[in-house]
């Protein structure tokens, strides 16, 4: 067993209000540079929708992630593209790359025109100009172009996850009076089995041993862009100016000094949780070789119990500090993912073992419109989950590789917690019914109380349990992060610049 620590995350989607504050907080600090304008290391998508970049989930086109090959006897994990030979074939031209048109052409406005234009009868306007060429540009797309189902159903109907839904279910989803949606904030998953690292021809991508953050060494990166194809979440971006790839760095200069990453700190809905998970690195690849239906369970089996004395001893042997072990024991992520089992990885079928988990949204699932009145009818909920507004099948495509049972069990537990608390506060519910719901949701009053506390009333120290990192391990001591934007990696002090 090789125990490793991973700084991992939980996003509670029921609390997300889709305000994009996280995206802006990230943009202002990390991607406000030339070449990086179009990058959104953190973005918030409306689901159903096509996402950013457009249709990133379509792996038939982008060929990201791992695929399972071989028969039962000898299953093998292979990169869907960009494996050893494939990389050389695609060296001179890579057909699986997203282009600028799959994101959007970044633009700004000619604000100076507002002040400099000559006196006239018309109000002066600031026309949009491209941030690449500086020429006036027709804005055709943006990073959240289909926000809040705008333009629906043109965009939303193309959602890749709607495949497999019946015609009836689709109609139900987009029926004008019942239309339903959810928000999906996305950052790099800092996967435990990253396909981007495996695909890098230059060996520039690496996973930090201490905290599992995946980074790109800009000095080693040769701009082959294999990682961009290979990352199924399209969370690696090509900087067109420096000719290098860049990605979310989980604000490691902040983490290393005990501060909270920008997108986490700025979150208005307080949906984000950060904590340490211990996992067995030796079992990662093996665990990702099971059939789609069992992937969520398989991933859970790799994550270790930080209270187990054997695990703690092994972790210490692997060089994990006491601070990290303590943080793992206090981790809110461990509670959501392992103890309560209500947080699920996004698109686990890509087999990269993402370490960012989502609590699926309950509200759009249970809400009903009856005679023009929005209602949450309790009694029907458990019997009619299959007729919910946001189909369970759709959520299963997102969070459990199509396994609907897992989604249903999460929904039932979330529902049980909600009605248990209501029964305490309002006493308008039948005790027998509530206890039946608790049973079906396989939860207990204590657990329901704990879930309620951490979901609704957590303090900042409960949401973000950041281990104290040793000073000698901090990058910050050798490099001013403000000066080294875009040159993330170990101990690099050179500012980025395009070559000759």
């Amino acid at each position: 067993m090789d125990i490793r620590a991973q700084v991992s995350m939980v996003f509670h989607l029921d609390k997300c209000i889709g305000c994009h504050t996280c995206s802006v907080a990230c943009k202002n600090v990390w991607t406000d540079r030339p070449g990086a304008e179009y990058m959104w290391w953190n973005n918030v998508e409306t689901k159903p929708g096509t996402g950013f970049p457009t249709l990133w989930e379509d792996q038939n086109h982008y060929k990201g992630g791992w695929k399972l090959s071989g028969n039962n006897g000898s299953r093998k994990l292979e990169l869907r593209s960009q494996n050893k030979l494939d990389s050389f074939v695609k060296l001179f031209y890579n057909p699986n790359q997203p282009g600028l048109e799959d994101y959007y052409e970044p633009w700004t406005y000619k604000y100076a025109d507002l002040f400099d234009s000559e006196l006239g009868t018309d109000q002066p306007t600031a026309i949009p100009v491209s941030q690449i060429t500086g020429e006036p540009v027709d804005i055709e797309a943006g990073p959240n172009w289909d926000d809040d189902l705008s333009g629906s159903p043109i965009y939303a109907e193309n959602d890749f996850n709607l495949e497999g839904l019946s015609e009836e279910e689709r109609e139900q989803l987009f029926e004008i009076e019942r239309v339903s949606m959810m928000y999906l904030p996305r950052i790099c998953n800092h996967c435990a089995n990253p396909s981007c690292v495996a695909s890098c021809p230059s060996g520039a991508l690496y996973k930090r041993g201490e905290d599992g953050i995946v980074l790109i060494n800009q000095d080693v990166c040769r701009g082959w862009r294999a990682c961009i194809s290979a990352c199924p979440y399209k969370k690696i971006y090509y900087n067109w100016k420096t000719g290098k790839s860049e990605k979310c760095i989980l604000c490691y200069p902040k983490l290393e000094t005990g501060q909270i990453p920008n997108c986490f700190q700025s979150c208005v809905g307080r949906i984000r949780y950060l904590g340490v998970l211990l996992y067995d690195a030796d079992r990662v690849a093996e665990a990702m070789k099971v059939p789609d239906q069992s992937l969520v369970e398989s991933q859970r089996s790799v994550i270790c119990d930080p209270f187990d004395e054997n695990i703690v001893a092994l972790a210490k042997k692997s060089g994990i500090s006491d601070e990290f072990i303590k943080a793992a024991q206090l981790s809110p992520v461990y509670k959501y993912v392992m103890k309560w089992k209500i947080a699920l990885p996004l698109h686990v079928e890509y087999r990269t073992m993402p370490m960012l988990f989502y609590v699926p949204p309950l509200l759009p699932v249970m809400g009903k419109m009856d005679n023009g009145i929005y209602d949450n009818p309790v009694d029907q909920f458990f019997t009619s989950l299959d007729k919910s507004r946001l189909p369970i099948k759709y959520l299963a495509r997102l969070f459990s590789a199509g396994n609907e049972e897992i989604i249903e069990s999460v929904m039932k537990k979330l529902m049980a917690v909600r009605y248990y608390k209501r029964s305490l506060d309002m006493s308008d519910l039948d005790i027998v019914m509530v206890s039946r719901m608790m049973r079906e949701g396989s939860t207990t009053p204590q657990e329901a109380e704990e879930i309620y506390r951490l979901t609704a009333l957590p303090t900042i120290d409960e949401r973000f349990v950041i281990p104290e990192i040793q000073r000698e391990e901090a990058i910050e001591s050798s490099c001013n992060p403000e000066l080294c934007k875009g040159s993330c990696g170990l101990g690099i002090n050179q500012a980025p610049g395009r070559g000759l």
Partner: protein, 438 residues
């Protein structure tokens, strides 16, 4: 003059700048070392440009390199009429592919506004240089046909003459202007590598084929200590690889030399009949002189006496060198008693030949490590590195008819005397009898 500038000075400069410039850039600015893809901003043109260009140029460059590195193999390959025709037509076809690709690559750089945001002057210079070079190559293929055959007598030996540091422009000085321009273009191309995007040629990710899929980096010193065992192993492996690479490179250099000899045996310049005869005569005369010398030595060793010189020729200051029976140098002086003084000239320190000029204190100097030897006693001076004295040799004085007048053995015992009237004609010898006693 212009030839040696373009075909000797320029290549060495270009290779020096190309190699060391690329290494310097890799070391000092590794971040700039990349292919700087523009596919993100413009994809379709890149596909139609980059693919034909790279496929064409890779094969064509490979053919150039093989013709240079393995001329024998190449020669045997293209000596078949059909193969030669096939090589030439494939080459021409691929160069058309290259040219089309380059034109598309150039056009997309010039027409797309987005691409202009990332295009440097050097990018355009490189495209222009490559266009020129490919154009010249095609012109050669059309106007100076069968280049893959005639290169083995012209450009290949020229390149090898550069490699072996014996540059010889005569191999190519009579070639048409087209070919010369193509060669100059190649040197210019190598020259601009470190200053342009062309460095991406050295970024071919070969190590990707052999590395494990995941890459984990630790900064933790505690983890580092735990992993130290592994690290030491890695380090040892690295040292081994370096040493291996060094030996391999040395082997390569050696084989270059050997290769050249083998090559020049088969394909090198041939001597005419007249030159061959002259060479044989030269060898014969050298052999004759060696034989003469050998004979002389044998004669000397067979005789009982070796002539040192006439007694009258000897001087007290200026010694006369001669060779004794052991083929060692010795010096003959005239002593104060008007009789010869023979002393070994082999320094007792490390065996240098001692000088024959006597200084004012009556000493001779060994120039190697400054030992002064008194010629009468043979003793070295106190500071000298030589500690033992130079031995004296015995002698025999005979008159013209071979009658012994006087003799002295190695211990310095003198017998007989030379009459003043006989001193003019008397000769000094060393004798074999005395040799044994010395």
């Amino acid at each position: 003059m212009i030839d040696s500038l373009l075909f000797i000075a320029l290549p060495y400069l270009a290779i020096f700048v190309g190699v060391f410039g690329s290494i310097y850039r890799m070391r000092t600015a590794p971040m700039t070392y990349s292919s700087l893809s523009s596919q993100f901003l413009e994809s379709k043109g890149l596909m139609w440009g980059s693919l034909p260009w790279h496929i064409g140029i890779t094969v064509i460059l490979l053919a150039h390199v093989i013709a240079f590195l393995a001329p024998g193999f190449w020669q045997s390959l293209v000596s078949h009429q059909t193969v030669l025709a096939a090589v030439e037509s494939i080459g021409l076809g691929l160069s058309i592919l290259c040219l089309l690709g380059l034109i598309i690559l150039g056009l997309r750089r010039l027409t797309s506004a987005k691409l202009q945001a990332v295009t440097s002057v050097m990018d355009l210079v490189v495209i222009l240089l490559l266009l020129l070079q490919v154009g010249l190559g095609m012109a050669i293929a059309v106007h100076c046909k069968w280049g893959s055959a005639w290169c083995s007598g012209t450009t290949t030996p020229y390149l090898w003459s550069l490699v072996t540091f014996q540059p010889d422009v005569t191999h190519i000085s009579d070639l048409p202007l087209l070919v010369k321009a193509h060669i100059v273009g190649a040197w210019l191309f190598i020259f601009v590598i470190p200053f342009s995007r062309l460095v991406h040629m050295f970024a071919v990710p070969v190590e990707y084929l052999f590395r494990p899929p995941q890459n984990v980096v630790w900064t933790n010193p505690r983890k580092f200590n735990a992993d130290n065992q592994h690290f030491v192993k890695e380090e040892a492996r690295r040292h081994f690889l370096r040493a291996f690479a060094g030996i391999a490179f040395g082997g390569f250099l050696l084989s270059v030399g050997t290769f050249r000899n083998v090559f020049s045996f088969f394909f090198g310049p041939r001597l005419g009949r007249k030159e061959e005869t002259e060479l044989m005569e030269l060898r014969l005369s050298r052999l004759e002189s060696t034989v003469g010398q050998r004979k002389l030595e044998l004669e000397r060793q067979a005789s009982n006496y070796i002539l040192v010189g006439k007694l009258a020729e000897l001087s007290p200051e200026n010694g006369k060198y001669f060779i004794d029976f052991k083929m060692q140098p010795a010096i003959a002086f005239k002593g104060k008693d008007e009789l010869p003084l023979l002393i070994s000239a082999k320094c007792t320190h490390l065996g240098c030949t001692v000088g024959n000029k006597v200084d004012q204190q009556g000493r001779i100097l060994c120039p190697c490590h400054v030992s002064y030897f008194d010629i009468v006693s043979g003793e070295p001076n106190a500071e000298a590195p030589a500690k033992a004295p130079l031995p004296h040799l015995g002698w025999v004085i005979m008159d013209e008819r071979g009658k012994v007048l006087a003799r002295r053995d190695a211990s310095g015992k003198t017998s007989g005397d030379v009459q003043p009237e006989l001193r003019v004609t008397a000769r000094v010898y060393i004798s074999k009898d005395q040799e044994g006693k010395a």
